[in-house]
Symmetry: C2
Subunit: 358 residues, 2 copies
Amino acid sequence: MTIAEENLREFVENIFLSIGCSQNDAIQAADVLISADLRGIDSHGVARLSGYIRLFDHGRLNSTPNIEVVHETPSTATVDGDKGLGLVVAPFAMKLAMEKAKNVGSGWVAIRNSNHYGIAGYHAMMAIENDMIGWSMTNAAPLVVPTFSKEKLLGTNPIAVAVPAQNQPAFVADFASTAVAYGKMEILQRKGEPAPLGWVQDAEGKSTTNNNAVKEGGGLLPVGGTRESGSHKGYGLGAIVDILSGVLSGANFGPWVPPFATAGFHDVTQGVGLGTGHFVGAMRIDAFRPADEFKRDMDIWIERFRNAQAVEGEKVQIHGDAERISTTERKQNGIPLNAKVVEGLQELGERFNVLLMP
Amino acid sequence: MTIAEENLREFVENIFLSIGCSQNDAIQAADVLISADLRGIDSHGVARLSGYIRLFDHGRLNSTPNIEVVHETPSTATVDGDKGLGLVVAPFAMKLAMEKAKNVGSGWVAIRNSNHYGIAGYHAMMAIENDMIGWSMTNAAPLVVPTFSKEKLLGTNPIAVAVPAQNQPAFVADFASTAVAYGKMEILQRKGEPAPLGWVQDAEGKSTTNNNAVKEGGGLLPVGGTRESGSHKGYGLGAIVDILSGVLSGANFGPWVPPFATAGFHDVTQGVGLGTGHFVGAMRIDAFRPADEFKRDMDIWIERFRNAQAVEGEKVQIHGDAERISTTERKQNGIPLNAKVVEGLQELGERFNVLLMP
């Protein structure tokens, strides 16, 4: 089923309004989710809407949060999200980071007591139109095994960096610190296909092709896969994201990060901090170099890489290319949703008396 | 051959003095190199000393640079290294970043017109004793192929992040954005052993076990190895490092980054910027949260990860553990150097009339 962007957006806004979000918050939260669907990151778009509502039902989500700056300096701040939607808390923090960057060159905000914030790239990309470089990262519930660990201690902990160019579209890197996103395992499970070696390990810590390994006591591997091929680098990247998002903000960290609604619940009173943590930042380009010079050089960078000699049948891509192409296409032709996602949305629509128009 | 730390340090200082470095610069540069040897990162220690001297011989290294802040805001700066030793330029920039962090919470410095800066971790670690989180990254001459590229467009572009704890030793991640450092290929070449799949590709862009592949038109693979197992993440990380170090500072970037002495020379007038670029940063912990609370939580983080259930025969390590153990051991027993490195040092000693004491 394919739904026009505007209809889907209106539906999502109305659902968020139905749980008590303000008009502004509903618009903001819907924009993050719709942006994921437009960009082709289907796992982080409206497919998660029912998950956020389940969080609300279980009392873990505050639809009218009092988001507060609890600590700050001219270039830094810590924000308490008051159990609000990460989809709203992170943009609040990113605006604060950009305000600080405007004033003193850069701004960095650690966020605690939040929930799932959607795609990392959305928040980083807020910086682009202001001629800033944007940063965004978040911790998440443990699915990932550090190198040599049998225990899952890290989330897929993504990092995003967005950089404006002049005539070329922006560079937008946005990736998990694992070999693959958990969504890829779910696709294999549905298809009944084995996982390539290097994606997951089993309960004994051995690489496996079992697409159910994570549920059976195994874990996702950090990018790099095995120690020999550099998994300590993926583990390091995931650890950095966890420390900045969780430890620096006073949120939960490591194995204590509460699961997103779809992954079940645990006793959050057993945590080591408040909710989920994020970390965002903005650096004004002309705090380093005239923005025009920088963006001209970014064009050179992007053109050189995009035009590199490629292996047969492939092209060298710039980070953000695929998502931009998807956005153009889906804005025009609508957002394709699979039957199970549509079913979930329709259930929400019935419950809150909101109509889903195709 | 094993040489006592202090003797090796004095030798290196004297060599740097011999090419005209000031006393302070010689001490600083030697400290970065000796620190690499102590930490067990032999490829980046005194083994590179003759390379720096060759850079000097070829007119690419200024032993008496006028390191200058060419642009700044309260939380950012751009530094021109005046073709100085990266071993001296980067610590200068890191001190500036820490000064800014002291004043406004964080400090970020992009550096152009520099040369090889030794181990990334050294500069990041300068922040630890000031209760700050340190960042350090650098671009480097192209050895690495982006995903699907046949051309080498990125250096091994390392990133380091150092985080203090309370009773536990600091967390110090310091890793290249490739599957392995090029030094590992050189070891295989010496031993005549094949490379594991996922480390390098051949001139046609195919994964290969040929340990000479990089010299024969191939390239090092980004961490992740292949597209299927996440090489676009390693490529993205290397790209971020290149953009911040090279494009943001006005240094060379991508395939234009000049080679370190040991990799031969190219016509540096053909570049797109000035010399090699680095990027360093410092964030004051109490700009986010009371430092004691943060460091107590870092202890919890580190202890939880270090004590995780491990696969048989292994231990879960914290980033920085191995280097710290090596440092303790080598401070006590001396620094082991292979015959070829000692030979290179002795040649330098003869040339500059400096004695290498064991």
